[in-house]
């Protein structure tokens, strides 16, 4: 308060006296966490989907429980439970496997696990919807042509799946990006956490929260442009048909 524009700029400068470089590092952590989590979440989404349609009853039930739990718990609660409980789990396992060795679950890893679990619970629904959109007919045609199941997935389903899954996964990516802000609560130095530290000494909450809010909006807008581009790419083969010379 009472600071002029120049002083604000000084606060954001890159160097010993400004928070610019710390914020940049925080942005790096936010992006690194999102980028590291997303592929894991996508793969998990497929696994959960397959578990949900498994022939084995117990697996189906477990998968249902998984999606119900992670879709109903607040992300912050999932994160806290995982952060503390996963360490207990790791200790228990490592006590059996590597006697004497103690592994520690970093906030980064804990954040990755928690966010993957949450995102994949929603992601399994994206996968299901996309598979439905591809249609049973495609699988049946492949079966009647003798293609093996892995081949069918690789050559027939997957190439068509992306087109239908991109909007859903794009949406989840944005949710993930924003949810990474929660790891500040377990003291991982992401954007929000860095902002909080900066405010501790500068006493300028409005400036810093507005700034990182704008950064998030920028990231989200960029993501949605990227998503549009990917959608266009993925449907290129298909739209060509619709406007083609047939």
């Amino acid at each position: 308060m009472g600071h002029g524009t120049m002083e604000w700029l000084a606060l954001l400068s890159f160097g010993d006296k400004g928070w610019g470089d710390e914020l940049l590092r925080g942005l790096g952590v936010t992006l690194a966490l999102s980028l590291a989590t997303f592929p894991v979440a996508v793969v998990l989404s497929f696994l959960i989907h397959w578990a949900r349609v498994s022939r084995l009853g117990p697996i189906r039930v477990a998968a249902r429980a998984y999606t119900t739990v992670f879709k109903t718990l607040p992300e912050i609660l999932t994160l806290l439970i995982l952060y503390y409980q996963s360490q207990a789990l790791v200790d228990w396992v490592s006590a059996r496997l590597v006697p004497g060795g103690s592994l520690s679950v970093s906030p980064f890893i804990a954040g990755m696990i928690a966010l993957s679990l949450v995102i994949s619970a929603y992601g399994s629904e994206v996968v299901r919807a996309a598979l439905n959109a591809v249609g049973r007919g495609q699988t049946e045609a492949a079966k009647s042509l003798g293609l093996s199941r892995p081949r069918t997935f690789q050559k027939v389903i997957l190439p068509q799946l992306w087109r239908h899954a991109i909007p859903g996964f794009g949406n989840l990516w944005v949710i993930l990006l924003k949810d990474t802000s929660l790891v500040s609560i377990i003291a991982l130095s992401d954007l929000v956490h860095v902002a909080a530290l900066a405010i501790n000494t500068t006493r300028e909450p409005f400036l810093f929260y507005l700034l990182i809010g704008a950064i998030y909006i920028l990231l989200v807008v960029l993501s949605s442009h990227l998503q549009k581009a990917l959608e266009r790419r993925a449907s290129r083969g298909f739209t060509r048909l619709e406007t083609g010379d047939a």
Partner: protein, 261 residues
């Protein structure tokens, strides 16, 4: 495609049953289809026609009874289903071409990846069959660029590329506009003349009369009547077949509609 030439009947159903949950979709089906025979299956909606022919290539697994295709029963060892599917081609109501592949790639996908046919050879074969269905000049197009009739002919060619001994058709013309129906029925008639064993679910009664050796009439999961087409159309034995024919034979249907007004 594994070189065995079989000589027995093409398909044998013996007291085959299939349930979907509580619903009894196939009831004690008995049916023997000889090599080279052409069967037309008809019946009201939901009577089990699709289920019947899907059992043949095990898209639907029968639950009791015996079903042998080219002498192979699904129980005969681990890859029996695969061996059955080698011998059976299928065409669907909605064509089910792979939309992300060109017509040619649709035709070569399975030969190249499942049967390890060299790509060049697979293409040559595919072009040959595409020519046979009058589609050689469309080989590079994607399915969505084709009319319904062209898509269905491409789907037939795709099945033929597997050199099947039996062809199944599940209402191959019912999703087509009237102009395209003729071109697909024409290709199927050609195929039947070439001696292919064919089992066709269709409501095209003109085609049935012309091409079928026998008509199988189903209702509520049962085979109600099996008869040569002339007998079936002119002198149906069963009350249900008669009612069905009344409904699908348009002359009478029209007469009815006009009476109403």
């Amino acid at each position: 495609m594994d070189g065995v030439t079989d000589t027995g009947p093409a398909v044998v159903f013996e007291r085959v049953n299939r349930h979907f949950g509580a619903y009894h979709a196939l009831r004690d089906i008995d049916l023997t289809v000889a090599r080279g025979e052409k069967i037309v299956v008809c019946g009201p909606s939901g009577s089990g026609k699709s289920t019947l022919i899907r059992c043949i290539n095990h898209l639907v697994a029968p639950q009791s009874g015996r079903l042998a295709v080219c002498g192979i029963a699904a129980r005969d060892g681990r890859d029996a289903v695969r061996r059955i599917r080698d011998r059976v081609g299928m065409c669907f109501q909605h064509f089910n071409l792979y939309p992300h592949l060109s017509v040619l790639d649709n035709c070569t996908l399975s030969p190249v990846h499942t049967y390890r046919v060299p790509r060049a050879k697979a293409r040559a074969t595919a072009l040959e069959y595409l020519a046979r269905v009058g589609m050689e000049d469309q080989a590079g197009k994607y399915p969505a660029q084709l009319s319904g009739g062209q898509q269905q002919r491409a789907a037939i060619a795709r099945s033929l590329c597997m050199k099947p001994q039996i062809m199944l058709f599940d209402e191959p013309t019912s999703a087509l506009d009237p102009e395209s129906v003729g071109e697909v029925l024409g290709v199927m008639a050609d195929l039947s003349q070439a001696g292919m064993t064919m089992i066709v679910v269709t409501h095209e009664m003109g085609f049935a009369r012309e091409v079928a050796d026998r008509i199988v009439f189903m209702d509520a999961g049962r085979i109600v009547e099996i008869a040569p087409p002339d007998d079936f159309f002119d002198n149906p034995q069963h009350e249900r077949s008669r009612r069905f024919l009344e409904r699908v034979a348009p002359q009478r249907a029209t007469a009815q509609a006009q009476e109403r007004t």
